[in-house]
């Protein structure tokens, strides 16, 4: 059981993260705590890029075009830095989110992975699985409420009252 916690709100976008009962941090905060003090420059660079992208999205909105078209609404937060010369043994950092609309973003968890494909990493796979369940749950509630996912006010109300 859990709830969504609002952690960042601007006139362009609202960003929430799931927080489960008995836990002191939401999923995004866990990601921040786990990754904000990497000593390896490559991982620090990945982390800084993710934070900077979220900051920029808070100013512009979470445009669909920012994300790679990977199918569905579960997306990896894009990096917008040059990553062509990374050390694959050190790994890359991924943060996953559920993009509901330009104005509504659910940030999930993330991790460092050395897997060639993100789908081959069990930790990332679990994070994606959790977000997929959340997406299905939200869609059900939105349908029951006879509203639309693009209705920002109605969706905001649902997100803030839904039980996970």
């Amino acid at each position: 059981m859990g709830k969504f916690e609002l952690f960042l709100e601007t006139d362009k976008v609202c960003m929430y993260s799931p927080k489960y009962d008995g836990e002191t941090q939401n999923e995004f905060e866990k990601f921040l705590y786990a990754n904000n003090s990497h000593s390896h420059p490559q991982l620090k660079r990945f982390f800084d890029a993710i934070i900077s992208v979220i900051e920029k999205m808070s100013e512009t909105g979470a445009y669909e075009r920012y994300f790679r078209p990977e199918g569905g609404n579960i997306k990896a937060v894009p990096l917008y830095i040059n990553t062509t010369k990374i050390d694959k043994k050190v790994g890359k950092m991924r943060l996953y989110c559920l993009r509901l609309s330009e104005r509504m973003l659910i940030l999930g968890g993330g991790a460092v992975t050395t897997a060639l494909k993100n789908e081959d990493d069990p930790v990332l796979l679990a994070i994606i699985g959790d977000l997929r369940e959340i997406e299905q749950h939200i869609k059900r509630i939105v349908k029951q409420a006879n509203t639309d996912i693009d209705d920002f006010v109605a969706l905001k109300h649902i997100i803030e009252t839904i039980t996970l």
Partner: protein, 129 residues
């Protein structure tokens, strides 16, 4: 306008390397600029790709930040779209007026003064009284 913020996120943001933040913001601004130009010119990514002799997937990688732009790429996109993508701030040009030296009258000549330079590097101006 920021209406709610998370303290931990703010702390992380304060520790972001400035060069990474600038790279991200620049790349996202460029992606937005190209998107806006394509929209204004009613062009698709596929059409842009065709005009540039690239695959559509490559254009998509640029616009989603998975692939960096070179100045050569930016120049090519600007040429194809007929609009600048990035603009570099330039100082306004200085206009100099060159005066022939034989027409120059120094203030000391004009006002009947004497300019003396000494060996120790100091100098003095004397007036006729």
């Amino acid at each position: 306008m920021l209406m709610k913020k998370n303290l931990l996120f703010e702390q992380c943001l304060a520790n972001v390397a400035q060069e990474v933040r600038e790279e991200v913001r620049l790349n996202m601004d460029i992606a937005n600029r190209i998107h806006d130009l394509l929209k204004a010119k009613k062009m698709t990514q596929r059409q842009l790709a065709a005009l540039m002799g690239k695959r559509e997937s490559e254009i998509s990688r640029w616009l989603t930040g998975a692939h960096g732009y070179t100045t050569s790429t930016l120049a090519k996109i600007a040429a194809v779209l007929g609009e600048p993508i990035v603009q570099v701030k330039r100082e306004p040009e200085m206009n100099y007026v060159f005066v022939p030296i034989n027409n120059f009258i120094s203030p000391t000549e004009k006002f009947d003064m004497f300019y003396t330079s000494k060996a120790n590097g100091s100098s003095s101006i004397s007036y006729k009284n």
